[in-house]
């Protein structure tokens, strides 16, 4: 186990810069999740930590050692690839034991470690099979097994669950989390899945276009996104954004172009008339009642059983709301939505920064 320090790392392919100065300190035993839109450089960053890509600028350290020029095989890192990368000509057992075999580990010890890993992952009955005789979920577990027999300094996971069906994904998510609690190995995990990120991470790093937009504990990111990008990226369904101008005199709020008034607990200082983006999460809106709110027209209503999801149109823009209650609504119906002032977010219209 070791800490990992990514400091002002840059990466260019030819003349295009893909990673533009990323710094992520990762302490020993931490579970860090990298999220960000496709193509933002998550895999590239992970591969640089593994040593599979050269580092154009900055430093990466594992433990106390700067590893920029250390060969991947000397870094003592285990990586689970998005496509699993299992050796097709080796059985499950041989796949898992390969790294130990390369180190000339004693046969009995290899067998013991493989059995132990297989036990953790429920693979005991599959050890003699070849990868192509396995289902996607089983292959995924073999890829994990190959990583954990080694007891490496750092685990790297690149979207390991993206090929699994929803149910298996939930099961594997729990398994990985449990594994981390048991082994306490420093882990960097890339995912596109909001829930994976929120539930597994000690720390989430939101990347965008080769930079870090924000990093922090999952709920911090959820409650206090530092800019409009993070606000829109974390949370599903995404936060609603409505543009308007601040009214600080009288009742604090945001005045929309169509006259609707969105409530704020407290207007930022000296901001009267300032153009802003008002952010409100779908679950932070109430239906009907008194007080300031927006007139909206029901577009779609989607009851999921546990909650009711509503898509409504406000001033030519769709917004999403989620209610715990089962409201009876019909498309086209005129309703009033009341955002909760205490959990509303306000962003500068120009810079997107939190106000």
């Amino acid at each position: 186990m070791a800490s990992v320090d990514i400091r002002d790392v840059r990466k260019s392919f030819g003349t295009t810069q893909i990673i533009k100065g990323v710094s992520v300190p990762i302490s020993d035993g931490e579970f860090v999740v990298l999220v960000g839109p496709s193509g933002c450089g998550k895999s590239t960053l992970l591969r640089m930590v593994a040593g599979l890509e050269n580092i154009t600028g900055g430093t990466i350290s594992i433990g106390d050692r700067i590893v920029n020029n250390v060969h991947p095989k000397e870094r003592d890192i285990a990586m689970v690839f998005q496509n699993y990368a299992l050796y097709p000509h080796m059985t499950v057992g041989d796949n898992m034991g390969f790294s130990l075999k390369l180190r000339n580990t004693d046969k009995a010890l290899i067998n013991e470690r493989v059995q132990k890993a297989a036990g953790i992952l429920g693979l005991q009955s599959l050890l003699e099979r070849f990868p192509r005789q396995l289902s996607g979920g089983q292959r995924q577990r073999v890829a994990m097994g190959r990583a954990i027999v080694r007891d490496p300094q750092v685990f790297l996971f690149d979207e390991p669950l993206s090929n699994l069906d929803a149910k298996l994904r939930v099961a594997m998510r729990t398994e990985i989390k449990e594994l981390h609690q048991r082994l306490k190995t420093t882990t960097v995990y890339v995912t596109h899945d909001q829930i994976e990120a929120m539930t597994m991470a000690d720390k989430i790093v939101v990347m965008h276009d080769g930079i870090v937009e924000q990093m922090g504990a999952p709920l911090d990111l959820y409650d206090r996104p530092q800019n409009q990008f993070v606000a829109g990226f974390i949370g599903s369904p995404a936060m609603n954004f409505l543009t308007g101008t601040v009214t600080a005199n009288g009742t604090a709020g945001v005045q929309m172009a169509n006259g609707a008034h969105l409530p704020l607990a407290k207007a930022p200082a000296a901001s009267e008339g300032r153009p802003v983006v008002y952010g409100i999460r779908p679950e932070h809106m109430e239906l009907g009642g008194d007080g300031p709110g927006v007139e909206a027209e029901v577009v779609v209503i989607e009851p999921t059983g546990s909650e009711t999801q509503l898509v409504a149109r406000v001033g030519g823009q769709d917004i999403v709301a989620i209610f715990r209650e089962r409201h009876q609504l019909t498309p086209g119906q005129k309703i009033k939505l009341r955002p909760r002032a205490d959990v509303a977010h306000l962003f500068d219209k120009e810079t997107g920064k939190r106000l």
Partner: protein, 320 residues
């Protein structure tokens, strides 16, 4: 309860009309498959089975050019087996095939691995590698004939200029010199096929396997030994089978370069068969010599067939 069930009328069986034999012939899938194969079978019989059968038949006759000949049993075979020239040709053929194939495999694999690396002008070099394969055999044989010329050989000339040798090398005039010379020419011609085929095989190996193995701690050699080589074996088996068959039946190169000489030192079974049957006019004997190649070829095919059998990790059969 039970008696109502028992008393229920049996469900009416759906009547399946019996097919007439002719209808069955037209609709049964197996027969249908047979009909579709018929044109291919006809071609095979006409162009493969018939010449092969004719050749075998001739080997049991005393046919000469101009006379059909009559059945003489195994006479031809008895004669060639006792013939020291034939024994020499068998030795030459086996030696030629074995040595050339081994060298072609080693060089071909090396080139394929080299070409699979990232390097400048990769596409150009790949194209250049193919040249020996594209040039007609006769043409390249003539080129080699010049290279090996006793008086004008460029090799002898260069070595002399560098002061390594004093006199010209007698490439094709000495038994062992000529054997190595024709093997070299054959290797030069055969390597591109093997290199390019193996390169194609190498490119099907996912790079992430090497990355995974490297992270698992594999050196470059271990990457080759544990990943590349095992994944390449199926294609190696195919390409080496072809290579062995082509080399064993090689004719043009020898015919042009040495015509079997000097004194039969490079006579292969194929050239001996031709020289006996067509030039010597003894068709029966010549046919017996070519027919004698068949067991060797079958042997080579059998070996590769067992080597080729789809491995468990490819076929995905059950383990039981």
């Amino acid at each position: 309860m039970s008696d109502t069930l028992a008393g229920a009328p049996p469900r009416a069986a759906i009547a399946i009309p019996e097919l007439t034999a002719w209808q069955a012939l037209r609709t049964n899938r197996n027969w249908l498959g047979f009909w579709f194969m018929l044109p291919a079978i006809a071609f095979l019989v006409l162009f493969l089975v018939y010449p092969l059968g004719l050749g075998m038949w001739l080997s049991f006759t005393d046919a000469k050019i101009g006379s059909a000949g009559k059945f003489v049993g195994l006479d031809n075979y008895e004669w060639i087996i006792g013939d020291s020239k034939f024994q020499g040709a068998v030795f030459n053929t086996l030696f030629y095939t074995f040595v050339a194939s081994v060298i072609k495999f080693a060089v071909g694999l090396y080139l394929a691995l080299l070409l699979n690396e990232n390097m400048p002008f990769k596409a150009l070099i790949r194209a250049l590698i193919l040249i020996p394969f594209i040039v007609p055999t006769v043409l390249s044989a003539i080129a080699f004939w010049w290279i090996y010329d006793p008086t004008f050989s460029i090799v002898s000339w260069s070595l002399r200029k560098m002061g390594w040798i004093s006199g010209n090398i007698n490439f094709l005039g000495d038994a062992w010199n000529s054997r190595w010379s024709v093997i070299f020419a054959n290797v030069w011609r055969g390597v591109p096929f093997i290199a390019i085929t193996l390169l194609a095989g190498l490119q099907t190996v996912s790079p992430s396997l090497y990355e995974a193995a490297t992270l698992d701690g594999a050196t470059r050699w271990q990457n080759f030994r544990h990943i590349t080589y095992p994944l390449l074996t199926p294609i190696i088996a195919v390409v080496m089978t072809f290579s062995v068959l082509f080399t064993f039946t090689d004719f043009q190169l020898i015919k042009v370069l040495t015509n079997g000489g000097p004194a039969g030192a490079t006579e292969l079974m194929a050239t001996m068969s031709y020289n006996t049957a067509i030039l010597g006019g003894r068709i029966g004997e010549g046919a017996a010599i070519s027919t004698a190649m068949v067991p060797f070829l079958l042997g080579a095919i059998m070996i590769s067939w067992f080597g080729l059998q789809r491995r468990k990790w490819q076929s995905g059969e059950n383990n039981e």
